[in-house]
Amino acid sequence: MDSTLSMTVLPPKRGREKAVLLLAMALAAGSFSLAIGEEATPAPNGDLPQKVSFNEHIRPIFAKHCVACHGGVKQASGLSFIYRDLATGECDSGNRPIVPGNSKESYLIERITDADLETRMPPSDHGPPLSKRDVELLRRWIDQGAEWELHWSFVAPKPQTVPGVKHDAWPRDPLDNFILAKLESAGLAPAPEADRATWLRRASLDLTGMPPTADEYAAFELDNRPDAYERAADRLFASPHFGERWASMWLDVARYADTQGYEKDNGRDIWPYRDWVIRAFNADMPFDEFTVKQLAGDLLPNATLADRLATAFNRNTQTNTEGGTDDEEYRTVAVLDRVSTVWQTWQGMTFRCTQCHSHPYDPFRHDEFYKFIAFFNTSRDADLNGDEPVLRVPNDDAKWSEAQRLDEQIAKLRQQTTEQTAALATDHAQWTWQKPVSAEVNGDARLVVRDDPSEKVPEVLAKGTVPQGCVFTLKFTAAKATRVTALRIDALPPDLEAALKTPAAGFVLSRLKAHVASPEGADLGEIKFVAAACDEADPLFDVEESMRDNPEGWEQYTRQTYPRWAVFIPEKPVDLPAGGSLRLALHFGLADSGAGALYIQRARFALSESPAWTALVGSQAYHDAKEQLAALLKQRQAIPATAVPVMGEQEPQDARRTYVFTRGNWLDKDREVQPGVPAVMPPLPAGVRADRLAMARWFASKENPLTARVMVNRLWQELFGAGIVETAEDFGTSGELPSHPELLDYLALRFQNEDQWSVKRMLRELVLSATYRQSSVLNAEKIEKDSRNRLLSRGPRTRLTAEMVRDQALVLSGRFSPKMFGQPVMPPQPDGVWRSVYNGAKWKTAKGENRYRRAVYTYWKRTSGYPSMLTFDAPSRDVCVVRRIATNTPLQALVTLNDQAFVELAQGFAERMDAVGGDEHAKIAAGYEQATGHRIEPEKLARLAQLYDEAAAAYEAHADEAKSLAANRERYALCVVANAILNLDEVLTK
């Protein structure tokens, strides 16, 4: 990783002096220190375990003292403690660091116990020597056979025995036993159960993202049935707002935004995917299904429109439309991002580390990253400005099945037609290659005619500076009279081998014109083509557009990997007299984002005399198919729809190959690799085609050791403020160990087995647990023994998320619109916030109910996020984020005090307080109670009443200005109090 490491050259310590032992060692103190953990092992001289465990005892020693230099990236002296084969084999010096079963012969022991400080490992400037206990552990472990174990998270979760506890009346769910057992061993008691209102507010915010209404508080308070909590929870799970709240969590992971990102950051219509997520959570789609659909819904047998929409998950990557950007470069960036994102999302792994080299700490090898890339490298998207391919998702749900039926028919018809023409076109015997007698192009460029050196086929090469809008003018002379029934054009990348690795510039044949001339040169008229076909069933532009006057046409937009062909067919055979000529004009009207012309760099031309072409285009069947396709397309077009970027797979003959990037550089490609999963993980099932669908099912399988753990941990994190594995983004060697490993395994197995991947069932178990029901009040003992609540000795107390801060204020204001789904909305935002370059988009503040929609529907612009949400720690969603870090800043105070969006909600809240009636004390008390669920303490009431009086006095002093907030003195004072209540710690916290 870091090449500024000090190098120490030491003489070999042993007799075998064949190599100079070169020890590149880490770091001057502090630089990129890989010292792991504080004191992972207890102080020296503790009792040694009978059987030494690699995971428990040995890996922490290696991680702390050794792998900075002898790891996955740096393998100083040819030695790595990540892989057993490297640690037990000979390193560069010829010594064997570890000889299993024989610590005396193990060079490792010799070096760590070396009396010579110059040569002892680790070097003194890199860290302290190993403790006696550590050395003894290593000795014993080697003598016991030096068994390697996988890092805990790569080992499948094991069934757990629910631990016994002393205070056995406390647990409500087996999960509580795990928590209580640990509390008891720490000498702690759980906190008392929180009062009902506290639980209800906590659960409502956690499950639906919104606070309870006054009625809900009252009903729950009065419900004395034994299953009152269960009923309350079930009401929350049944609420449509459940999906909105959990979608907010998932959309961070999915890096969902309403714009494309990068410089122009243009709008992107991908909100139907957001709605898909909300619906999936509401319908409690099992998490395995949820996984497969988002990763490979398009490849499912009988994929529905909704399945294909789900794949937009991976089209939330950014599209770079800046002028002069290389589409292949940013396509590659998007593919890398997908791999990084799916590993973060489903495995909690920092797989991206493996882009440039083997993983520094975890057993992922460099090649394995690219094998995984191969699953994603054959998708059709290519950083095009229009985000193609897109799926036209009907705006009206009722039209989805009709649209799907039409799509299927259209695809089938196109496939049939393409197969039919391809069968004819690839009958090579009919084609006669043509060599132009003259070839010209405008601008500073020139066309070179040659016979291809290997195949001896005549071809035209474009050289020099070919301008956008160029025209190739070619003249072919007929040696003998020819009845032309079809013209075939082949477009090749300049270097076939090079293009396989990094695609060449593509082309768009905007217009093809063909004339026949007599031997004397007289124009005998234009050839009217009536049909065209190419080697792709569903190209970006219709190949027949080349026959019409517009910029579109036969294309390979914007980059080309493989040779392409197209055939143009006249209605009737065209007679080319002997000595006469065929004149072609090829117009290339489009350019790439750097204004580089998109023309055929290497073109071949052939003519056919086969009557089959004329018969084909004259046949009723061909005619009918064309008419039918046009009719179907028209019908489909008539359904109002939103074009959503989705995943689509390249046809097998077009599929890109995948190569290892040398040191992560996409322009420097090394060996080719095939799709596959890392060796440390369970393999793909035998006999399954290794494609994106297989990969999706592999993530979603019960054999995958991480998927269930990572999801359960995420649900836990959302409820308790921190996961059982606190580093939700890193379940690897460098991440935190789980606080309750047995509980994590227990919950993971329960989630995937008993709960059948049901998120609602898992959450239900969590919110009804005794652990979750605890009061969050702190006392001195808990501060001392469980300061950060990692043992869960009390209930969670966390600040609301950015979305909840807004949604809660909306609900309290009484102006909340429960309208779900649809285009993103624009609540008030200060003027002048949006200023992207080359982008005319404007923030148009919503009027009516769209002004008061939930935060999940707020327009999410990547380069300029909604300011108040960013201030409350919402990410930009440029990349996958699995954990938000809550901060506490003065800018947050300014938002909730002053932001117009919050001020008008305070006005609404004041109206509702006013409507309660009674004196101001009653109104204030009602407002407070609504906001917190609790009756107001007399002291707090007195303090707010004082503020009320102060505000009323201010109104009287400056009535003119004050009127812009409220129409009269009483309402004004209530408004100010409402503003204060919305800013109270207990209101901003759950």
Partner: protein, 494 residues
């Protein structure tokens, strides 16, 4: 119920002490959300910065005695032509109009140049200035007076040739999104001297965001409290700074006091130190309302200062932002980041013609950047304030031929292989030029200076070792300088 100011202060101190007790005595402290051990898993090392979440921007000691206490970074978004300002290339002028040799084109990728472009000498005459004899084009007459305070690096290089990624690289050390910007790192490492103002302020001119958007002043993986705060010329100087219509400052103070009083009661009930932290953030916000407004209101500056910079209150301009930058650092802001948009001189229009729009922008730049150095110096601030100026890459020594055609105006394409960056004040060697390029200015002669070297140098001048300013995230100790080797450019240190 009302307590005296004195009592209130005592209460607050008590609450803060209680909080410190948690933080100090309880290993990692309650709610201490970014103590390294919690954030980064088991990578945290002794070198990682520990910060009290109750005072995340409190001044912190650097690793060693700093030369610069604060930074003003002037970024010309779009990237001005070094060849028309600071790079005197007589050979290029001689060859102007000739085809660019193939050796400069083979295997190179350009944003817009296609085929064979023509070489383009500068249309502006050059002369030497100051005791140092630095070459400046005629576009920089005022700058001639300050060149002896300036250190030029002519051998800058980057590997990104599109604006967005290149700007990200300059500001976050990585061309991809999701990394922390320089100013975030500086405030994470050092905090800031004035708690009543943001520690990292961003000022924009030119009518647009920089191409890479807010990510160039984002906190990336650092806690969001370290992201840059945009101060604006129109509307609220800081978003949501002003009280809403109908609530005046006096009443706002009463609201904040009421919130604080009630929160303290809540703290007594729940014992959550995060509540105490919130109280202090509200009080800070209340003070910031005055101090930020005051810092941004430069109309009252004396006439000779307006004359010096060319400032006009009420508009959004580079000149105004230069003066604001001085006012902000004067008040203890740690890092002031300016972006001036409109330097992408491709020659497609009047505005982007080297001899028209570019020259016009240079007139403004010359005056206000020179004024900033003069003004800092006369106030004794230049000694410990580092001023840095750059684009995100350079411009080609070739005239742009977009789409392979001659352009209507004279322009240059993006050029990652060589560009000029200058620094002044804060411990750099004034009147010095470091590095040089070949006779046509295509590429550095000898070892180029990378963006990460500049990062290492800026951090060094601020008293920080770039290898030690780390933040554990996703299994790595993240650094501004990234994973490739970076060096402090010792040669340019005073």
């Amino acid at each position: 119920m009302r307590v005296s100011i004195h009592e209130e202060q005592e209460q607050l101190t008590l609450a803060q002490t209680t909080r410190r007790h948690f933080l100090g005595d309880c290993v990692a402290g309650l709610g201490s959300f970014w103590l390294a051990s919690q954030l980064g898993g088991r990578l945290a090392s002794a070198a990682s910065v520990e910060r009290d979440p109750a005072a995340p921007l409190a001044p912190a000691s650097p690793h060693f005695a700093p030369k610069a206490k604060r930074v003003i970074y002037l970024h010309m978004a779009g990237s001005p032509s070094q060849l028309d300002l600071f790079e005197h290339k007589p050979e290029l002028e001689k060859l102007s109009g000739q085809d660019c040799p193939q050796s400069f084109l083979a295997g190179k990728r350009f944003a817009f140049i296609r085929g064979v472009p023509k070489l383009l000498g500068s249309p502006f005459p050059y002369a030497q200035h100051g005791q140092s004899g630095a070459w400046l084009s005629s576009l920089m007459p005022n700058f001639a007076n300050v060149v002896d305070d300036v250190c030029f690096i002519h051998s800058m290089q980057t590997d990104q040739f599109n604006h967005g990624p290149a700007q990200l690289l300059v500001h976050t050390g990585n061309q991809n999104l999701g990394y922390a910007s320089m100013g975030s790192w500086a405030t994470y490492g050092l905090g800031t001297e004035n708690q009543n103002l943001p520690g990292f302020v961003v000022l924009l001119s030119g009518g647009h965001f920089p191409d890479a958007g807010k990510s160039v002043w984002g906190a990336g993986f650092l806690p969001s409290v370290y992201q840059g705060v945009q101060c604006r010329s129109s509307g609220d100087p800081v978003l949501f700074l002003s009280n809403p219509p109908g609530i005046d400052r006096d009443l706002r103070g009463k609201v904040v006091q009421a919130i604080a009083d009630i929160d303290r009661q809540t703290y007594a009930e729940t014992g959550d130190p995060e509540t105490v932290a919130r109280v202090s953030q509200y009080e800070l916000a209340y003070r910031m309302q005055v101090s930020a407004t005051d810092a941004m209101d430069f109309a009252k500056e004396p006439a000779h200062i307006h004359q010096l910079y060319g400032t006009k209150p009420g508009e959004e301009s580079l000149a105004n932002n230069c003066l604001l930058a001085r006012r902000l650092i004067e008040r203890g802001v740690r890092f002031v980041q300016l972006f001036d948009w409109g330097w992408d001189s491709h020659g497609t229009t009047n505005d982007t013609a080297i001899n028209i729009g570019f020259a016009e922008k240079c007139r403004v730049l010359d005056r206000c950047a020179s004024a900033l150095l003069v003004d800092l110096k006369q106030r004794g601030l230049l000694d410990d304030t580092l001023v840095v100026w750059s684009g995100e890459f350079g411009r080609t020594p070739m005239r742009e031929n977009r789409g392979g055609r001659e352009m209507p105006f004279i322009g240059r394409d993006h050029h990652p292989h060589a560009f000029t960056l200058w620094m002044a004040g804060g411990g750099v060697r004034g009147g010095f030029s470091y590095g040089e390029t070949d006779p046509i200015g295509y590429a550095p002669v000898g070892e180029p200076v990378q963006v990460r070297d500049v990062h290492a140098t800026i951090l060094h001048l601020l008293g920080m070792d770039h290898q030690k300013l780390i933040f554990p995230y996703q299994g790595l100790n993240q650094k501004l300088t990234g994973v490739k080797s970076a060096r402090v450019i010792d040669e340019i240190l005073a």
